[in-house]
């Protein structure tokens, strides 16, 4: 069973104490003051709870697909409603403002796959930061009666960058780098085939792949200002540092961020080292707004996580 409740316990009675960290800029506070209705708070709380549940089910040995799908659908509904009444924008702005510039992308293992020369520069080996998620990134149908189709797809990113597709989520502990670098321009289906094959190879070439994969880091970061993603982003919390690059923004413009992390949930990552609740918190905090290079500590204070949670809930 999951730990009861989240950091902020849902309260039917309405207002929860809203506390903002020191760093929350004035602008978002003003804007967020409009979200003080009981309904909005409840809705926000439900959203947070749902995201925690999705995260937790990454960590389970065998996440229940039906449950994951139902929770993900609930999150989508909330997100749609919040987008309609404009509160989504406000929240994402508040989050963006609260992010430290040195953040790196974390669970976007996807983007680690770029063989961008620029990205190669000065990238230190990045261990997969999300403890459980890491192990969890297995394709459902890695081997299935000869069918090498991969479940995991980031197809919304695929058109953007063919490499950032299915196989990227095949990241297991031994899959650090793609052997599919050369497949850049291929169709997604073919790519899936390749990926499937690659995955088998990767186990042999893991060493080689590792160094390639690490270059991944990028400046390609998920469009942090994008709506839905932000919400999921908060739980993988790491935001791209670099100043927005218009070319990149355009590249990612048709990304549907709401699926960004649902994908990891729905693509059947079923393996995970067994993690207790504290492990979860630690791994979440490790995607805190800190640089994630192996040389520096991957773990930030839980305080920073607290801070972020306050922003999510309070703003």
């Amino acid at each position: 069973m999951f730990p009861k409740g989240t950091k902020r316990k849902f309260s039917d009675s309405g207002e929860e104490p809203v506390s903002s960290g020191d760093q929350v800029p004035a602008a978002p506070s003003v804007a967020t003051r409009s979200l003080t209705s009981s309904y909005s708070l409840q809705r926000q709380s439900l959203l947070d709870m749902s995201l925690i549940k999705l995260q937790l089910c990454h960590m389970l040995v065998e996440p229940n697909l039906c449950r994951s799908v139902l929770i993900a659908n609930t999150v989508r509904q909330i997100q749609e409603e919040m987008t309609q009444d404009g509160t989504w924008q406000i929240m994402t702005q508040a989050l963006a403002a609260a992010q430290c510039p040195t953040d790196r992308l974390v669970a976007t293992e996807v983007l680690c796959r770029q063989t961008d020369a620029a990205a190669q520069a000065g990238q230190s080996p990045k261990p997969f930061s999300v403890g459980g998620l890491e192990e969890g990134y297995h394709a459902e149908e890695v081997v299935m009666e000869g069918d090498v189709e991969t479940e995991v797809t980031m197809s919304t990113l695929a058109p953007v960058s063919p490499q950032l597709s299915s196989a990227s989520y095949l990241a297991g502990p031994f899959v650090m780098g793609p052997c599919w670098d050369e497949d850049e321009e291929e169709e997604e289906e073919e790519e899936e085939e390749e990926d499937g094959e690659c995955e088998e190879d990767e186990e042999d070439d893991s060493e080689d792949c590792v160094s390639e994969g690490e270059e991944a880091d990028r400046d390609h970061l998920s469009p942090d200002s994008r709506t839905g993603e932000q919400v999921f982003g908060t739980f993988e919390i790491k935001h791209p540092a670099p100043p927005p690059d218009p070319a990149l923004e355009e590249l990612f413009s048709d990304v549907d961020p709401s699926y960004y992390d649902l994908d990891t949930v729905l693509t059947g990552m079923q393996s995970a080292p067994k993690m207790g609740p504290y492990d979860l918190l630690e791994s979440l905090s490790s995607h805190g707004p800190t640089a994630l290079s192996s040389s520096s500590s991957c773990r930030s204070d839980l305080n920073e996580l607290d801070h972020i949670m306050e922003i999510i809930v309070g703003s």
């Binding site: 069973m1 999951f2 439900l46 065998e62 697909l65 039906c66 799908v69 139902l70 995991v152 079923q270």
Partner: protein, 433 residues
């Protein structure tokens, strides 16, 4: 109104019961548990001494059906928990059942041995070979009675056909085939052939990001061997005809009730998810269970159910808490009585509910040790929803959500029911006067 009393003394089982199923005659009752074991109970023959009391159920056979496995490729454990058991109609002296965990279905043969051959010429009774010099005559070995021995042996193993977790198995009325359903696919098997299955439903989207609906249960029609239904997490039931095409992604009928706009909330979809679907014995109706209600559908009418029964409507205002503690995802089963006049399903606090379709009556009963002293009659329970709580009523806030009855079964011919609490099995029978 019927009165129920216990005719089985519950014993604490080692593991959580995960499925309960009577065989076609009702003489045998199988339970599966989280540890992969199957325990079969057999009804004692009625004794002339107590004609009003149907025979008790005693343990008949116990065997380990599934073992935990480890999928090395995906680095994940495969639980040995038995998700479903389905009996095959009896064809000869032996009994057959299908049991399944998340990934593998097994066909088990349960047979009795109550005689053994004695009087071999070359062997002593204890198996030692006789000294041939002492053999002066020949005799024909004969069968002599022995203590009954019940043996369970695996006859077929149907493996490697499901990527996702199997939630249902259903034996076809042709007795030759059966279906197995996981979250996204349904496969058709021949009972004799275990290395091949046909995929008949596949709702996996090409892009898994688009996944919003999963299969939650599936069942063959009781007499039309070409017809089956499957239910989904969005509250729809699709009826398919296997004669129409090899892949039954196109449903012949789709049953869905329009949402009540007054009750709309963020939890609407979750509580509409169907946890169980069962055809009536007649084959004319089917019943579905969602989180708060049981619905009876006429197969000829797709637009809405013909009957709806509220199981625990008082939980509607608690949905957020139930979401928080994950209870909202509990999968309750439901069952019909032998003549389709009464339906039954479980609830929380070890309560279970029966709805009499004809008399339009319902009753709430509790499966507990106190109630199950032999011959003590079950007293109807009531949950108080209003401010004033009457004596003997229990308030919603006092309900124990850890005590849930997910699995119930009704004897196909008699008024005998099997109710599984977390790790106890209760068997109740109707009190006859």
């Amino acid at each position: 109104a019927k009165q129920w009393h216990s005719n089985y003394t519950p014993s604490l089982t080692a593991d959580i019961i995960s499925t309960v199923e009577f065989n076609h005659s009702g003489e045998l009752l199988a339970t599966g548990d989280k540890g992969g074991r199957v325990v079969i109970f057999q009804q004692e023959p009625e004794t002339k001494n107590q004609p009003q009391c149907r025979g008790e159920y005693n343990v008949y056979s116990t065997f380990q059906s599934h073992e935990p496995e480890f999928d090395y490729l995906k680095s994940l454990e495969i639980e040995e928990k038995i998700n479903k058991i389905r009996w095959l109609p009896q064809k000869n002296a032996a009994q057959f059942l299908l049991s399944t965990n998340d990934k593998t279905i097994k066909l088990w043969k349960i047979s009795e041995r109550d005689k053994r051959p004695e009087g071999y010429n070359l062997k002593e009774e204890d198996g030692r070979y006789r000294d041939l010099n002492t053999v002066t005559t020949l005799r024909v070995p004969v069968f002599r009675p022995m203590d009954l021995m019940v043996e369970a042996s695996p006859r077929r193993v149907f493996a490697n056909a499901h990527t996702y977790h199997i939630n249902s198995i259903s034996v076809n009325s042709d007795c030759e085939t059966y279906l197995s359903a996981d979250d996204l696919r349904i496969n058709l098997w021949n009972l004799e052939i275990n290395d091949r299955s046909f995929n008949i439903v596949d709702i996996k989207p090409a892009n898994m990001e688009e996944l919003t609906e999963v299969i939650t249960a599936a069942e063959f029609h009781p007499n039309q061997c070409n017809t089956f239904v499957y239910s989904s997490s969005k509250g729809t039931i699709r009826l398919c005809d296997m004669r129409a095409s090899a892949l039954c992604d196109q449903h012949a009928k789709q049953f869905e009730e329009p949402e009540d706009p007054n009750n709309r909330s963020f939890f609407s979809e979750i509580i509409s998810s169907i946890s169980d679907v069962k055809f009536s014995h007649s084959g004319r109706y089917m019943m579905t269970r969602d989180y708060l209600s049981v619905k009876i559908w006429d197969l000829n009418m797709e637009s809405r159910p013909v009957e709806t029964y509220q199981v625990h409507e008082y939980l509607r205002s608690k949905l957020c808490s139930l979401y928080e503690n994950d209870c909202i995802f509990d999968k309750f089963e439901c069952c019909w009585n032998g003549n389709d006049s009464v339906v039954m399903t479980g609830s929380y606090n070890n309560f279970f509910r029966m709805f009499d379709r004809g008399y339009r009556q319902d009753v709430t009963l509790e499966a507990s040790r106190e109630n199950s002293k032999p011959r003590s009659v079950l007293k109807p329970r009531k949950v108080s929803t209003g401010g004033k709580r009457k004596k003997d009523e229990i308030s919603v806030d006092s309900l124990d959500f850890n005590k849930k009855i997910l699995h119930t079964a009704w004897h196909p011919l008699d008024n005998i029911i099997a109710v599984a609490t977390t790790n106890n099995l209760y068997i109740f029978q109707e009190k006859l006067n």
